[in-house]
Structures are given as structure tokens and as C-alpha cells.
């Protein structure tokens, strides 16, 4: 009896090719579209119905079962509400990381297991050796940054069918399998993570509240912003401060709705040698020396970790609070934490 794998299918090439590869490997594959968000936003049509149709088309042509799991309520509670609460605190959360932790590798995993799945699978660029979460072969596409918070149980029961391939290999294989005909574009996932941008999304929930932009170096007001909640530390564009050298957001004073900026790229507020973390997750023994990734696709930086604080050999550009620092021991993604 072949093992049953529930595969998250988004309609894009990665998960579609995953379906084909799993079927070739002899699994009993069940395709699942997770409906997490369907509401259109101003100026942006949510592509969920089209994505669903693309996923279902591939599943149908492969002759595999296909289901829609409606997770809209849970996604709103676990991801959107968390995200909004974080922004309200002046932080910059990463909704994709939360979505993987709470929805794709928890809720989906649980429901799939309930419905008879031995394993789950996704089209993420990541690998797994049955125990550890490993970086994808394609360094440039590696998505383990978004996956570091998923449980050990989920890792042990997840297949990443394309993690050993590079993106060009995926495209080539997909074309060979006749997939080029069945989809047209990359699926974008949830709308507000796509082109609409976070600021437009947040404006749906928080009113525009004008506040002062203060030059960190002179202490003078240099402009007006639309509400400190809409801005991120380190952000350069979107301040409408006219010509000259660009300003960077250095600090946010949420209670007073003030935004501090600096033209000085070397401003003390923008750099640090230490990062305090919370909600740290570590799988296995935590080594003192590890490599850290501070953004998706950012280079790995060596650091030491004492259980609470990361220390770097050199100054690094300070990531915004709420973002994640993800730990690697060689090719193994061992966990990470959320920056205070």
C-alpha cells in the first residue's frame, strides 16, 4: 500500500511540479488548495479563485484527488490578527513565517492527518532528511527562512519534492512534463503580501493619522507622515521628503506618533552588533556559534548566541523589531527567534 501524501497546491509551477514528482515516486497524492484569504482589496483583485482553478486543473489532469481546505477564519485569527497587533506595537512582523507555523504546517498538517494522510508536502524550496530541516539546493530560492518555526513533528512528516532542484531545473522539468500549458504565472499567494503592499493593506485597518517626521540629527521637523504604524525601521522610500540625500527611518515613537529619520547611513540607530531575541525555537543542541539569516535571501552572517542575545563580529544593519533571525548550522536550519 503506497503512502498517502496531502500536497498543498497553489496553482503555481512549484507545487504543480511537486504533484507530478510525488506521483512518479509512487505516492497516493491528494492535492489541497488552502483557501486562506479571498477578500479583494482596493485596486487589487484577490487571485484566489484563479489560483484554485489552476491547482485543480493540474490535479485533475494528473488524475489525483483534490480538496479545498477553507482556513479563512483561522488565517484571519492566527496570521492577520497577530500581524495587526504587532504593527500596532510599532513592530514589523513577517506574516509568511506565521502562516507556515500556524496554518500550512500545523492546521493543514492536522486536518490532512485526520483525513488519512501519512505525510504532507509543499512546493517550498527546502529539504529535509527525515529529522532536520535543510536548506534548498538552490541557495537563491531557499525558503527555510520562512519555515524555521515549524514543528519537529511536521518536519518529520513533510516532503519537499522540489527542494533538491534549482528554479531553472524546475522550469525545465515542468515544461518537459507538459506543465507549461497548465499554468500561466507564478501564484502570488495571499494578496496583501503580493503587489498591493503592506501599507495599503494596513490602511484598511488603521486610519491615516498624520504625524511629524523628525530629523534624528537636528531634532527638527522635516515633514509629515501618514501614521507611524505604516513605516518600518530602515525604510528608505515612501517618505515624500523631496530631493537630496535619502532619509532612513531610524526610530518610531508609537505613543506620540513620531517618525525619526536620518540622512546619515552611519547613524547609530541603524547599526548594531547585538540583537536581543524572543520566542526562540531551537531544534536539538544549540551551538554557541552559528550562522544567521536576517532576511529572506540575505547572506548568512556568523554570530554567537547565548540563549537570548545574538552577537556579531561586526556591526550589522539593524533589522526591524518583529522580524526574524534564523539560525543555521551548516546546511541545517536549526531554528531562530523574533527580534525584540
Amino acid at each position: 500500500m503506497s503512502k498517502t501524501v496531502f500536497l498543498g497546491m497553489s496553482g503555481g509551477v512549484d507545487s504543480s511540479l511537486s504533484a507530478i514528482l510525488l506521483k512518479e515516486q509512487g505516492y497516493n497524492v491528494v492535492g489541497v488548495y488552502m483557501k486562506n484569504w479571498s477578500r479583494d482589496l482596493p485596486g487589487m483583485k484577490c487571485p484566489w479563485a484563479e489560483d484554485l482553478a489552476d491547482a485543480k486543473r493540474v490535479a485533475t489532469k494528473l488524475g489525483i484527488d483534490f480538496h479545498v481546505f477553507d482556513f479563512e477564519t483561522e488565517y484571519k485569527q492566527k496570521v492577520v490578527d497577530y500581524m495587526l497587533a504587532e504593527f500596532k506595537k510599532g513592530r514589523t512582523p513577517n506574516p509568511d513565517i506565521m502562516c507556515n507555523q500556524e496554518v500550512k504546517f500545523k492546521l493543514f498538517y492536522d486536518v490532512a492527518r485526520e483525513q488519512g494522510a501519512d505525510l504532507i508536502a509543499t512546493g517550498h524550496y527546502a529539504q529535509n532528511d527525515g529529522k532536520n530541516l535543510l536548506k534548498a539546493v538552490d541557495e537563491n530560492k531557499d525558503q527555510t527562512y520562512f519555515l524555521y518555526r515549524i514543528s519537529e513533528d511536521a518536519i518529520a512528516h513533510t516532503l519537499f519534492p522540489i527542494g533538491h532542484l534549482t528554479k531553472p531545473e524546475v522550469k525545465k522539468l515542468a515544461a518537459e512534463k507538459g506543465l507549461d500549458n497548465a499554468y500561466k504565472k507564478e501564484s502570488m499567494g495571499v494578496c496583501f503580501v503580493g503587489e498591493v503592499g503592506m501599507k495599503d493593506f494596513l490602511k484598511e485597518y488603521f486610519p491615516v493619522t498624520p504625524g511629524d517626521i523628525i530629523d534624528e540629527d537636528t531634532g527638527e521637523k522635516v515633514g509629515t507622515h501618514e501614521g507611524a504604524i505604516f513605516y518600518t525601521i530602515g525604510q528608505r522610500s515612501g517618505l515624500n521628503l523631496g530631493g537630496g540625500l535619502p532619509y532612513y527611518v531610524t526610530r518610531k515613537d508609537m505613543p506620540r506618533n513620531l517618525l525619526y529619520v536620518s540622512r546619515n547611513l552611519n547613524a547609530r540607530e541603524l547599526w548594531t552588533r547585538e540583537l536581543e531575541l524572543e520566542d526562540v525555537i531551537i531544534r536539538g543542541e544549540a551551538p554557541i556559534k552559528l550562522n544567521v539569516r536576517l532576511r529572506h535571501r540575505a547572506p548568512l552572517i556568523p554570530a554567537t548566541f547565548d540563549g537570548q542575545k545574538l552577537t556579531f563580529a561586526q556591526e550589522i544593519k539593524r533589522p526591524a523589531a518583529g522580524q526574524s533571525a534564523v539560525f543555521y548550522d551548516d546546511d541545517i536550519c536549526i531554528g531562530g527567534g523574533i527580534i525584540k
Binding site: V58, K61, K177
Partner: protein
């Protein structure tokens, strides 16, 4: 071997059996040819003052007259729009324009339960605008029977003194059900008379969306008795992006676009000369062959049904009475219905997922006995509702169960079809149903 045999490319569809003419039709060659000059040497703005522009203006008016003539109206009665959706929206402005001196505090709009989304949405918009003038407004739906025909008793009951607007499509876009519009108009006439005698001054306007009708029905405004009628070029072999609203005498509308005062000030914007030309030529051409086409499509319908009856899952033909052999209980070929437009053959395979059938039929090599079979393009529900993943309102309204709705295909014939093609499509649909049915049995 590729898992998804990719014989057909989206960009060069050369061979296919297209069974979704209710969604779109190819522009007929005569229309294409007639439109060409207005994009090149006759490009002038009809409103410009010099002679060549004046000629274009005259040509435009001429085509408008010819189009109007097809429904027994005059060119001046038509407002050319960007399609049926705009025409429907424009029609509903009669509620606001007609209600400026509205004597009542509450008004009602009646819409048939099986109307197109654009009618429901325009009704809601009209309601919101009326309510912004402090008039409580209700949008009520009128029931249909199991074949999609209006329930006239329900209609009479709901047609009270507060009703200002009634919208009933001449032909439903999913089932092809033809509504008895002249009967509806008679009932409305009686209510108008009653209001007149009682000294009630609330206007009562009858609108009909005839988007699907012009290719197979002879339409006469006076016989239908409607005040407003929507026409659609894209369903009759004309170009997309063109439609028309017939506006009866004394019916007041409000413009949706403001500008240079074209179309009697009701639809500003430079006239779409090429579009109207193509629309008129295509409609005229189809109107010449009404009887022959009705006969042809009726034959197609029965031929397709004959094939579909061979399915392992018993087909449920929609919009007509299904029949069974009295002794064996085996399904029998239904009799053609006078109340279903001849080019519609909607069907449900309860228990089968119709969306999967659509995807399979794109690639018959996956399931077909004949691996060189042509792709068959069919649809579920109305294209716009289906793309939003919504359950068809029409199929709910005729009382189908969720399983029956999920198994429903909308099939509609047109100029691209042949009898052989229809038979082949029928066989392929049955093979696709069988493929899915066997898959389900194995789970």
C-alpha cells in the same frame, strides 16, 4: 511521457469543439470586414465638423437605425453602450430618474431569481441610491419553476403598489429558458391601469436583458411590451465591448458617464463606430437564418442528449422535463422544450465534479479512446460567476441540490459547430465522465 499531454497551445487553437457560445462567439467574417474601414481610412470622430467625419456620423446613424429596425424600434430609441453589463446598469437608472418626484416613502425592485450578476448588482446599486434619498428600497426576487420559467403567481403577488422596476431576462444565460415576457408585460399593464385609476403616480418600468436572445429569436419591442431592452453584440457574432439599450418613450434615465453629450446625453464618449457596425452586420446576418438555425441547433441538442444518455452516471437535463422508460426506469431522450432556446443544452452529472470535466476535456488524450480527439470547451454556470468560485444562483433557483449543481455543465451551440462535432463532443464528455466516475470508484 508527459503527464499533461500538451497538444493544444493557448495561442494557436486550431482544432477544437467549442460549446460555450453563451459566453462568447467568434466575430463573423462579414462583421469583421465591415468594421475594418472604421479603424483605418474612416477613422474620423463622428462629431467633427468636416465632410468625411459627417459621413462617418451618417454611417453610424444608419447602422443604429438598422440595428433598431431588427427589434422594431427606431435608431433614436437605442443607446449604444460598452456591452450588456453597462446597458443593464443604465437601465436601472430609471429607478432614480423616475423617482425624482416619487410619492412613496418605500419602493421595491423586482428581479427574477435567475438574472445575470450585472442585473443583481445594478439593482443593489439602485437600492443604495434610492435609500440615500431617504426612500426605503427593497430588492425582491421573483421565483422560477424547476425549468427556470418565471412563477407568474409569485410575480403577481409581489407586484404591489410600491414596485417601480421589474427586470426579467428574455433568455436565461445558463439554461436558455425563454420567459413569457408579453404575459409579464400584460400583468404590468393591469397594475399600471390600477394605479392610474387610484390616482397613484409611481412609475412602473419593465426591463429585459435580451443578451442571449437576438441570435435565435425574432424580437419585436411592441410584442414584448418592455420599456427597456438590453442587447449584446458579443453573443451574436459581433465584437465584444458593444451593447445597446432600447429605451421606450417616456422612460427617463440618468447617465453613467458624463462628457460630450453623445447618445442623447445618456452615454458620453466618442461613438464606437466600428463596434456598432460589426454588431449590426452580425445581428442582421443571424436574423436572416433564425428558422434554419433553430432547426439545426434543435437537432444538435437531441444528438448530444442521445450521446450523453450513454453515460455511466445518469444525466440530468436542465430546463426540460427528464423522462424515464416506464418499465425499465432507464432514462429516455427528453422532448425538446418550446421554452428553452434551441442552442442551449445544459446538463448535470450528479456526483461528478463538472470542473474536473472541463479540465479533462481540454486534453482528451488523457482519457479518450481516440488520442487524437479534439479538445472540447464547455463551461459551468455563467463565466463571470464561475470564475469567482460562486455557486450558480440560477441552478439554486431551479431547485438543484448541491451535488447536482457541482455536476452541471453549461453547453451552448453556435456558428462554430457541426453535427459530427456535436456527436464527437458527446462521446468525449461521456468518456470524461466515465474517467472521473472510475476514479471515484477506486478511492
Amino acid at each position: 511521457m508527459p503527464y499533461l499531454p500538451a497538444r493544444v497551445k493557448y495561442d494557436i487553437i486550431t482544432v477544437m469543439i467549442y460549446l460555450d457560445h453563451a459566453a462568447a462567439t467568434p466575430v463573423i467574417p462579414q462583421a469583421l470586414e465591415a468594421m475594418r474601414p472604421f479603424w483605418s481610412d474612416q477613422f474620423f470622430n463622428p462629431s467633427s465638423p468636416y465632410l468625411p467625419a459627417k459621413r462617418v456620423r451618417e454611417t453610424y446613424e444608419d447602422y443604429k437605425n438598422r440595428l433598431a429596425h431588427l427589434i422594431g424600434a427606431k435608431g433614436n430609441d437605442l443607446i449604444i453602450t460598452s456591452g450588456a453589463t453597462e446597458a443593464n446598469n443604465l437601465a436601472f437608472t430609471a429607478t432614480i430618474a423616475g423617482c425624482t418626484s416619487c410619492p412613496l416613502e418605500s419602493t421595491k425592485i423586482l428581479v427574477l431569481a435567475t438574472e445575470h450578476d450585472s442585473v443583481f448588482a445594478a439593482a443593489e446599486a439602485a437600492k443604495n441610491r434610492l435609500e440615500s434619498t431617504n426612500r426605503a428600497t427593497e430588492v425582491e426576487t421573483v421565483r422560477v419553476d424547476q425549468y427556470g420559467r418565471i412563477d407568474l403567481t409569485d410575480f403577481r403577488n409581489k407586484l404591489d403598489k410600491n414596485v417601480i422596476f421589474v427586470s426579467v431576462a428574455l433568455v436565461n444565460g445558463e439554461l436558455g429558458t425563454i420567459q413569457p415576457l408579453s404575459e409579464i408585460a400584460e400583468i404590468i399593464k393591469v397594475e399600471r391601469l390600477r394605479r392610474l385609476e387610484n390616482g397613484e403616480t409611481l412609475p412602473l418600468v419593465l426591463h429585459s436583458d435580451a443578451s442571449q436572445a437576438l441570435n435565435l429569436l425574432s424580437i419585436s419591442i411592441s410584442r414584448l411590451g418592455v420599456d427597456l431592452l438590453t442587447l449584446n453584440s458579443a453573443k451574436v457574432g459581433g465584437p465584444k465591448g458593444v451593447g445597446a439599450l432600447y429605451v421606450g418613450h417616456g422612460i427617463k434615465l440618468q447617465p453613467l458617464t458624463y462628457g460630450g453629450g453623445q447618445e442623447r446625453g445618456l452615454r458620453a464618449g466618442t461613438e464606437n463606430v466600428a463596434g456598432l457596425t460589426g454588431f449590426t452586420i452580425a445581428a442582421e446576418e443571424l436574423q436572416k437564418h433564425l428558422n434554419a438555425n433553430r432547426k439545426k441547433y434543435a437537432e444538435f441538442t437531441q444528438a448530444l442528449r442521445t450521446e450523453l444518455l450513454k453515460s455511466p452516471v445518469k444525466p440530468l437535463f436542465l430546463g426540460v422535463k427528464n423522462r424515464e422508460d416506464e418499465k425499465t426506469g432507464a432514462p429516455k431522450l427528453p422532448k425538446p422544450s418550446d421554452h428553452q432556446l434551441a442552442n442551449f443544452c445544459p446538463v448535470s452529472f450528479p456526483g461528478i465534479d463538472a470542473e474536473r470535466l472541463i479540465y479533462l476535456l481540454e486534453d482528451p488524450a488523457i482519457f479518450a479512446n481516440d488520442v487524437s480527439a479534439e479538445p472540447v470547451y464547455v463551461s459551468t454556470g455563467a463565466a463571470c460567476a464561475a470564475s469567482k468560485g460562486e455557486k450558480s444562483k440560477t441552478l439554486q433557483a431551479i431547485g438543484l441540490s448541491d451535488t447536482e449543481i457541482a455536476g452541471s455543465l453549461r453547453i451552448s451551440f453556435g456558428s462554430t459547430n457541426t453535427l459530427e462535432g456535436i456527436k464527437e463532443a458527446g462521446q468525449l464528455i461521456v468518456q470524461a465522465v466515465t474517467h472521473e466516475w472510475e476514479r471515484i470508484q477506486n478511492v
